[in-house]
Symmetry: C2
Subunit: 348 residues, 2 copies
């Protein structure tokens, strides 16, 4: 059973948090929400609070374009606020600048931050700037939930319908092309899903962003909810066209684009059947077409249709692969390709 095996990252987080006392105001449990949710004393409101940093992405060369570094610094945080359907309140930057950065490079980072903030409806409130030989960029974001209607990663039931806010796979396609040194690298510029998140919060039973890739997200939702997922849409219906094109050009399985752990920051969420028509009406009104991809199952497994069969990718192995390969990204990609070159049916 997949559930018996441990995700190394989850274990590390539990170890780090072991000695900490939980806040009586905190609504969500450890790891069970994209953003931490705190009830605001004396009101019916809640605050959403998150922090995320770009470290390995810069060190590995995955992000070397300064505008993208700035853009992603905001997006990785805005995405957590979107996943809990909160209204943006503000953002704090943590910039550790390299001594080697030219002023023009720093300006481009700031331009990326500024543009992403405008797109996501966030304002930079302040921040902290440091210098190091090793650059890293991060932020903390705050959002407001004006009522008691909370959505986290937990809460789906068997029979709930699984949706995706937009097509998946471009994150891994970008990473694969960039780190392999392909001449053509697909455009990677995830959009903030704040408006979608607010609609999702009204109708869905759980929600999580695909920051760690599509399959890792499903795996985490499986563990938290003790349910499974049957993804019965055809790959072409929910994997991005650019990602499918790249995979066919290089003879790779399109499922590889779902398996890589560099995500596209879309939202995976589940809608109870009796809320579906209302949800779809609200989505349509906002001009958004969410992608219906499958259904929540009682059986704790992840089954993905490749058009002919249902495959059961070993998501535990996929999620631990980065740790196993000790950050050696070439080895990581080779292993990942091997897994999807052979049979991926680890169980049925």
């Amino acid at each position: 059973m997949q559930m018996r095996e441990t995700i190394i990252e989850n274990g590390l987080i539990s170890m780090l948090c072991e000695g900490f006392t939980r806040s009586p105001l905190q609504v969500n449990e450890l790891n069970k929400s994209d953003a931490e949710i705190v009830s605001l004393p004396g009101t019916k409101m809640h605050l959403a609070f998150t922090t995320d940093n770009i470290v390995e992405e810069i060190e590995s060369g995955l992000y070397d374009d300064p505008y993208l570094i700035g853009w992603m610094t905001v997006i990785v945080n805005a995405s957590d606020i979107a996943a809990v359907g909160a209204e943006p309140l503000g953002l704090l930057l943590s910039e550790t600048l390299s001594d080697k950065y030219e002023p023009a490079f720093i300006e481009e980072i700031q331009r990326g931050i500024s543009d992403a903030c405008k797109e996501a409806g966030f304002f930079v409130l302040g921040g902290d700037t440091n210098f190091s030989h090793s650059a890293q960029f991060g932020a903390a974001a705050m959002g407001l939930i004006t009522d008691n209607n909370i959505i986290t990663r937990e809460g789906c039931e068997a029979g709930d319908i699984v949706y995706l806010s937009g097509s998946a796979g471009i994150g891994s396609a970008y990473a694969f092309a960039k780190l392999s040194g392909f001449v053509e690298v697909p455009v990677y510029k995830p959009e903030p899903r704040i408006a979608h998140g607010k609609i999702i919060r009204q109708f869905a039973s759980c929600c999580m962003d695909t920051s760690d890739g599509f399959l890792s997200t499903l795996d985490q939702l499986m563990r938290i909810n003790k349910k499974g997922f049957l993804v019965n849409s055809l790959p072409a219906e929910y994997i991005s066209g650019d990602a499918i094109e790249m995979s066919s050009k290089y003879g790779l399985s399109p499922l590889l684009m779902l398996a890589g752990q560099h995500g596209e920051f879309e939202l995976i969420f589940t809608v109870p059947p009796d809320s579906e028509s209302e949800f779809l009406k609200a989505a349509e009104l906002s001009g958004w077409k969410p992608l219906k991809i499958g259904v929540v199952t009682e059986e704790r497994s992840i089954k993905i249709s490749d058009g002919n069969n249902f495959l059961c990718p070993d998501t535990t192995r996929l999620r631990n692969l980065l740790h196993e390969t000790k950050g050696d990204l070439s080895l990581y990609m080779r292993r990942l390709t091997e897994i999807f070159a052979g049979p991926v049916l680890t169980e049925f």
Copy 2:
């Protein structure tokens, strides 16, 4: 005139924030508050929000004790929340762990974090963990201000009385001893000033923590308020005993302990004369004895009594010294010692 000269750090922050749009909800202006203050829509409440990271302190070896690293990760943030007199709401950690850290070392960091949180009344809500060859630790903290009574770094008038929450100088004494390789290093473990901050907010006209050292704090308050400070207490009345002992042992000026930019995280604040007796009553009730150190002046200068004369340290030069010496801390300390070995009367 000191005011005409520019602080390099302030210039950098302005440059970084140039393209950003300010939030209509933000109460404080850029750089004019220790924590960013945001009004909470539909209520009379405000949120205080801050982020601070420990980077150079680790890289330089200033903090090599893991418990201290953890303790300070919390304190640097709690201190900003204290300076605006907010009630702690929660804390998010950003830990960039070195691959070289042993589990026991990481456990000690977490113990320091946990202890400081208990002391400051903060709970860890969540966080982000990364790996790099260059470790850094940071946090973002959130606090609640339950009314419209806001305190920032701005607002003092000539004649207001200058107070210090507790003795100054131990931060620089510790840094001086640690980086010089002295056998005896004074104990450095700043306490969170959350309770003091709440009292200060009721009575004071401005407040700022001494995270960058005593004189840098006065200099920043001078620039923001366009006022000056006359510190007419004797050094022994407000410089920590350990710091004075160390300076006399090594033949250093005790004023050096006020000039170094590694602070002790006390609060410098100003109380209008007609609020002073009420303030002192409230402080006494809480068992706290704030240190009265001087008065706000119309003249924009910083004058410090050394017991015999009033000295006017060149705080612009002091604050830019770290940038001028390009992070070479031995050179920084040598220059600092030279300044205080010769006459420090740059003007009168």
